[in-house]
């Protein structure tokens, strides 16, 4: 489990464009570096990210070794219904982590 910061407005009006921000604390080790012994440091990155809003895909992204440590994603969605925004991402070990944020439509 890595630490994730999420910013989703708690409340929004129907039809409002909302900004969603996600910061994942992850080293994003590129696989290109070597350690002090000269051995290659194995690649360890988050390679895929998916955000859904009430099961509808808002953003799907592939991430590559050139992405810096602690990736910060910021994107927009249209607020439609009260529900849950789900963030799922997978690292090179195949581990998937899922985070959720609730939104209420007024």
């Amino acid at each position: 489990m890595v630490r994730v910061l999420i910013n989703v407005p708690k409340k929004a009006h129907r039809g409002e464009v909302i900004e969603i921000k996600v910061l994942i604390s992850h080293p994003m080790e590129s696989g290109q570096r070597r350690n002090e012994m000269g051995q290659p440091i194995p690649r360890d990155i988050i390679h895929s990210f998916r955000c859904t809003y009430n099961n509808q895909v808002v953003l799907e992204a592939e991430l590559f070794p050139a992405v810096a440590a602690n990736p910060f994603l910021s994107f927009f969605a249209v607020a439609e219904d009260t529900g849950t925004i789900v963030f799922a991402f997978t690292d090179d070990h195949g581990t998937e982590q899922v985070e959720r944020a609730a939104i209420v439509i007024e």
Partner: protein, 418 residues
Amino acid sequence: MSVVTRRATLGALAMPFVARAAHAATGRVVVIGGGFGGASVARALHAGAPSLQVTLVEAQSTYIACPFSNHVIAGLRPIEAQIFDLSGVGRAGVTVVQAMATGVDPVAKTVSLQGRPTLSYDRLVLSPGVDLNDAALPGYSEAAAQIMPHAWKAGAQTLLLRAQLEAMPDGGVVVMSAPANPYRCPPGPYERASLIAHYLKTRKPRSKLILLDAKDAFSKQKLFQQAWAALYPGLLEWVSLSDGGKVTSVDPANMTLTTDFNVQKADVANVIPPQRAGAIAALAGVADRSGWCPVDPITFASKLQPDIHVIGDAAIAGAMPKSAFAANAQAKVCAAAIIRALDGATPGEPRLLNTCYSLVAPGYGISVAGVYRPVAGVLTDIDGAGGSSPLDAPPDMRAAEAGYGEAWFRAITAEAFG
């Protein structure tokens, strides 16, 4: 790097390496900006080639030094100890003109002054320091700085932040905001946080200091964090970029600072905004789109206007930090290069030095030193030269370094302004 080497450094400071041999160089050199860089370059030019006509232009009658101004904020030093003037530079043979420079014509080679006749130059040196780039931080402005002081230019702002800390009740929350690189004095926000924490610990122990940072790494980080854990546990909280620490806007009316993930309420807010080269740099056409000034690292000649040199915080000096020490070192290199160029000679490849002392509590000093040389047109850290205070130093070494810091301040201000 050993403490003995530091002492040698301080000794070397007093003797500019611009040789005092008689140079035949003649010509008019105008320097704009009477801070550490400007005062040092004007003196070094005159000392290195007394036949030069050297004119120093500065708008203010006194100069209030930024190094050690964090001590003033924490109540450890009077502001009077920070105040210098240019009379010593005048006595050294430089013509000092107190006026605001309002424009530069790089083709006619003239500097226009407010309420004074225009000056002509053969070479111009700009050492304008930094301006605050308020537009880069929504909600911040000159008016906002009266409520949420930056105190990043020493003087009234320093005293305002000091007064706000004194007026704050015990149990209050002080919030600092540190900008992304580059900015004046890379370790400055962390020394300030340390000394504010010291003030709170000794005077208002139920208070808290939150340092919101647009960076994940900073100068002397391990030394600062070790000291914070030992001296200020539970009192000083550093929120890094990856912890969501980047401040994206401020609201002085509500005393809040907004990050990407949070809204932080403050009783006292010290907002250090993004910065850029002092305004005259853009007027002279030597600042690029970054707001800073690209220079040749051998001569400090502008890459945009070859007869104008830029030194100090305004210059893009590669790995060299924006510090008073760096400005002084660059001033000597720049002066030597100008004298050689006016003599029709080619300047030699320089080595530049920077040392930076920070105080984390009274009697607890830490330092970092670097040596730099041009590599492929960029000032680059020489591997293995310089270094920082050891992490496992005994208390008497921390106390000694606090003393060396004070000796450094006396030496550099004497050299620039004395």
